[in-house]
Subunit: 382 residues, 2 copies
Amino acid sequence: MSNGVAALNAPLVGAAGSRARLETPSLLLDATAFEKNVSVLAEMAAVRGMGLRPHAKTHKCAAIAKAQLEAGALGIACAKPGELLALFEAGVNPLMLTAPVASRLKIDRLAAAAARGADIAVVVDRAQLIADYAASARAASATISILVDCDTGLGRTGVTTPAEAVALARMIEAEEGVTYAGVQAYAGNVQHVLGFEERRAANRVANERLQAIVTALKAADLAPGIITGGGTGSHMLDFEDQVLTEVQAGSYVFMDEGYRPVDLHGAGEEVFRFALFVAVTVIAHSANGEAITDGGTKSFAIDGPPPRAFLDGVEIGTIAWAGDEFGRLKTHDGHAPPPAGARLECTVPHCDPTANLYDVVHLVRDDVLEAIWPIEGRGLSD
Amino acid sequence: MSNGVAALNAPLVGAAGSRARLETPSLLLDATAFEKNVSVLAEMAAVRGMGLRPHAKTHKCAAIAKAQLEAGALGIACAKPGELLALFEAGVNPLMLTAPVASRLKIDRLAAAAARGADIAVVVDRAQLIADYAASARAASATISILVDCDTGLGRTGVTTPAEAVALARMIEAEEGVTYAGVQAYAGNVQHVLGFEERRAANRVANERLQAIVTALKAADLAPGIITGGGTGSHMLDFEDQVLTEVQAGSYVFMDEGYRPVDLHGAGEEVFRFALFVAVTVIAHSANGEAITDGGTKSFAIDGPPPRAFLDGVEIGTIAWAGDEFGRLKTHDGHAPPPAGARLECTVPHCDPTANLYDVVHLVRDDVLEAIWPIEGRGLSD
């Protein structure tokens, strides 16, 4: 089966000026911005004695995960078993599955990977799931680490009370084949609160609930070794609160228009750079002269503010959707619609589901296509 | 690279009760509804002496395209060269590219396919594109058919005036390597007008503009052999107006929540059945008891009304989004949240970009997984 633009662009790897000649639509990772994002957050965490477990739901790409591990990450978080297993097969380890599952086949696959050397931690929200993980682990002669999934306000998965958390932790400790590793609480409800002080207040509510659970676990002689959660929106506040032992930030590595208005560091400064772009080509002009591009809702996940479009590094407008396959360039004042054949690089509304649309990401440095990386976990939401 | 749920579900093909045991999230095609949709529209077109050129942008799947051709379709329409070439490699022919392009490499690839037996028609909106197609066709010793792309109100691509259309048609006729095949006008602005009479009026405006172009072409001795356009929303009206010679309907084969409120046939009756579903599993429950599923915005394109969720064939609620990987079941009155492990089948907000998320589609008939079909054009927006 064809692998799309990767096959067309592969001959360009390493060639001078290749970035401007990429066939489109194609997913671009700006190497300089990407490397800066990876190192900045790693250093911020290290300085504060916090761990970092970057979330691969954002990128699903082994090369990116390995760069995060090389920068000091404790391991890589994954949202789904299929994503986790694809990254393990591509050489990524340790791995943490951050959501409960309800498929014995999936649990068996995780246990089989653990038997082959995958260092796997998972989360549970109910007794049956502990029993299932333990049974699969024993059958595979493997060990799986388990954390208790806690809900501190997101309202999605996890137990809410200290008593429930203690009960589940005790069950984990009592089972053969699994080890009790700690707790998880992802405050997804906090990440996109725009103002720093508002987000600080919301995150503190979540962390206070989590602290109550941690305190109860300690009192029950079940002190959690790992207290994991947080994200790109809350990482500074989680460093401040010191309830978590590690942060599961994902989007920081790419950045997107959804996070752009979020004051991440309380100083209005941009610490993370935009590293992810979709390159598109002007294929035609509408009757009123607007440039029509070859990237629509099959090339961008649209759950976020519109992309900004750059021509030769200059922001010249934003993209409106003109169907599943096409975009419509809304030029800023003072900029003319570029001619057919012009290539634009566009930021993305929401990075995670956008990266999930592409089989490969094109690593570009300055004006050169440096490498084409497979996105091993693409489409693996199973 | 893993191919996700396909590898997990492949052993189930043909097994009794396999539909209910599919690993999820997985894309399902209900064979009975699909076959009915394909045959109903084919018969409607045949009765009225109209051609049908189903649009593969909806499904990107060779097996589906072949079923449409077997039911009498003139050929298959594609939105992008990559999609077209993937279907050609999988044995689909003839093929029509329904959008202008601006990449000489892509044009060369189309010409190379034409030299290897692909019966390819394309559309143009400008003189340069005619020259490029002709030059590539000559270099490949191939012939490419060209239609003039006309804009009758969508405001995306194509010429708007009869004079422009005549000028381009004349240029096509004058070039070696290409043949003048007719005109295209896709009234995408009409397709989702909800009321039948309102849509009829809007479509008539578009078809009158198109008729003026056709009349001018005939007067210039450039009578178009093919007059192509239309879609699922306008097909009945295009059959009625008889300006088009063929209709490019796409969504009718799957149906989605976006088309559900559109009165397609003026009688309020549902002629096309819902054939496309995403199967999801309840993986947990939120603190307030809602069922959380394993299908979020990476498993559904969300540009349409929310999915309806069916449990054992009974509609029990709708799906709200709980992140990129998760859904939240909002049960209808009288239905309880199903337990962890329960499998739901969900309609989709918008079929085209949803199918584009999956590497395979699972063909199910009654309670059996009958086949797993590759979606050859997935992700090929290039």
